[in-house]
Symmetry: C2
Subunit: 479 residues, 2 copies
Amino acid sequence: MEGSRLTEAVKRDIGAAVGGSCSTALEDRICYSFDATDIRGLPDIVVWAESRDQVVAVMKIASQARLPVVPRGAGTGYTGGSIPICGGIALSFEKMTCIVDVNVEARVAVVEPGVVNDDLRSTVERLGLMYPPDPASLKVSTIGGNVAEGAAGPRTVLYGTTRDYVVGLELVMMDGSIVRTGYLAGDSDVAWDPGPLIVGSEGTLSVVTSVALRLTDAPEVTRTYWAEFGSLDGAAAAVAMITADGMPVSVLEIMDGDTLACATEYVRGRAPDTRSEGALLIEVEGAADDIAGMWGRLQPLLEKCGATGCRAASDENERDEIWEIRRSISASLARLGTGKINEDIAVPRSRIPVFIAEMRRISAEVDLPILAFGHAGDGNLHVNIMLDRANQLHMVRARQAVSALFSAALELGGTLSGEHGIGITKAEHLAEELDEAALGVTAAVKRALDPSALLNPDKILSSRPNPWWDGLKAPSVGA
Amino acid sequence: MEGSRLTEAVKRDIGAAVGGSCSTALEDRICYSFDATDIRGLPDIVVWAESRDQVVAVMKIASQARLPVVPRGAGTGYTGGSIPICGGIALSFEKMTCIVDVNVEARVAVVEPGVVNDDLRSTVERLGLMYPPDPASLKVSTIGGNVAEGAAGPRTVLYGTTRDYVVGLELVMMDGSIVRTGYLAGDSDVAWDPGPLIVGSEGTLSVVTSVALRLTDAPEVTRTYWAEFGSLDGAAAAVAMITADGMPVSVLEIMDGDTLACATEYVRGRAPDTRSEGALLIEVEGAADDIAGMWGRLQPLLEKCGATGCRAASDENERDEIWEIRRSISASLARLGTGKINEDIAVPRSRIPVFIAEMRRISAEVDLPILAFGHAGDGNLHVNIMLDRANQLHMVRARQAVSALFSAALELGGTLSGEHGIGITKAEHLAEELDEAALGVTAAVKRALDPSALLNPDKILSSRPNPWWDGLKAPSVGA
């Protein structure tokens, strides 16, 4: 859909409602027109909300003027969720960065949506507590964005995703009404709570203005291990064995050989040089007694799967070196040059070896490198198709590869999206995962909570094709 | 609302759809017309569904004929959720009692909705696993009913409620479409999952035909303690101190003096005779090492609050004796005679002493005994107004007491319902807890998922007054 355009009168109303904390300057609008997808959508106006009441006022004006509202955290998304593809208001939460309360006894933090994940983490760490969800973007991405996308991370294997930590929300609906849920509604538990619908709804059902998050105790001991393999299949087999063993794994990250080469090149000097066809980064955590014998249990299992370079980090320094490799992957791939298409899929953990074989087949078929790394512990793989976006043939083949990768994931009982959401880029594939009845319920809920269809329009449920493929010829089979 | 009546043709269609597993005999209809509330609503037909496909067929016929459908587990509810107050189809799940799968590795059980809670418990116990939600009705109530009401129990303080264990559902919507969520949809996590809306929705949004439930490891050690107090306030103070202490309490049940007298009289010979003004039943659980010193930590704390008869169960036999008292409460109160009105409210744990003082004031004001017991650990109290239902004055005063108790709970930041739901009896009070915006979202979700309003109509969101008060004069203030 296309919303109305911004009139001068509406612009004045918005300016008055937010005390001038807004802009229609082209340079500002451009800054809020994109995320990590290379898709662009220019908002008519950028609003930096400073309070819940300002959000309410803006929503009422937008409803009246039939202007789309697109909430936005740090804009680090991989599926276009925060892009104002229909214009309207880019509603930024950069100024709502208050950690309102940390209730140590109840183990709950209440934060504004603009709080950066890592700021919350370090604040609660000082109180001996932990906020587990740790997306790779944690140094920039916001809690509001994490809630919108249902963000996961390396620790998800043990701790679950953002979904498992949201215990209360303050929502502003498109008509400006305020709904509080869970902890923020005094843990009221009558009738049904819309809260769980909101996590992962990508800002399409309501705007979040406050989040109550469950915290956990920090683990007594964490141990970090590294293992390299002669083949990615070996690493994938080790994932399956570790999972079946039931040890208290809190991180289980996999990297293929190309990813590893790229990342180690990038961190040269800051981490040991390493070359292999696959690697695992493993952490276990728990009480000191429980963790003591873990390496003795893990190492033989890794070696049985063909691991060569196994090591346990002996101190914090060695731990940082190991993590440095993992954390540099995205930046290192970006430096490779021309471009990449990053898709996150998830498959049952036991099917990772099968998926990886299928991925290699697809890579060969389309003649484009496909690099894989990610959260093997919960079956969530980040699959990167390396290409030159200006090259039509590359793009035609990439489109073919994306479709084939999604089909493979679904075929194996997996999902289109482990944590990046559907947004714009995966909307055209949603019907491959959800059947007609589930899509019907999804659409009914959208109509119920956003009847005017102004809230982050044309996301998730959209017939708009992925703009990546705009102007491409239809892919020829077997191209 | 009143739905259409059952025609001969529709009756034939239903009979054909369920292979004759239905009845319009008055004696059968009467058996499915009530629950624990003393409210009656006669269905037009009782259907004992034997499979998901039969449910689908019945829903399609009912939609077409505009006949209400009221799903029903064991009918043990305290708010009228399963009563066919508008007639239509009483859809019983008594024949869908299959434990379809227990996946020990994934710690997930998949069951049909008619499985009795205790049957699931004992089945998974044999595999070293535990299904924690333990409503007092567990020997009769079904998983489907537990899901509909969001049932809790003594163990909720440590383990949470049914809501925390449902990881997947198979739903049949009013139009007969089938929607699978979570584990039963291959853990698909794209867009929004209607699953969490369904738990606690009292069969008003969809019918549940399969439930995937998370299981936990059985605790290594459980210890049971009993403490008596010279006053209920002392017991309530101990609850607050135990909670603040942070020990791994898995059960924290409170009983007032009248409840205790009644229950001990009932179990005479099967448990030690005991007379006091308040008692606590406490359990702690965990690893043997962690639990070893627990009594030494608990006992001084109890004594500081004025506990007199403190004891730790030394064996399984003594444990059973202690539980016998708690489990006999409902039956013993029923034997007291004429009648009771049982309301479950919840308040923040620290406010239990204040609520109990307020309850005593209300009891004196209306001149009716009010007995209290319940899950103090999560602030959920079962408040029983003892009365003769045939006595108009009693009923007028009870109505006044119920309103005052709800107001007191809400005033203290509590809720109308800890676990019994809203159903018919609390619907008239819902607007005291949810504000207009929250009610708006609640109603919008109902319209979205049951647009024909045939699914368990006139529950939760209903302008129908509580039938308990039918024919009563308006209560006089200060009666």
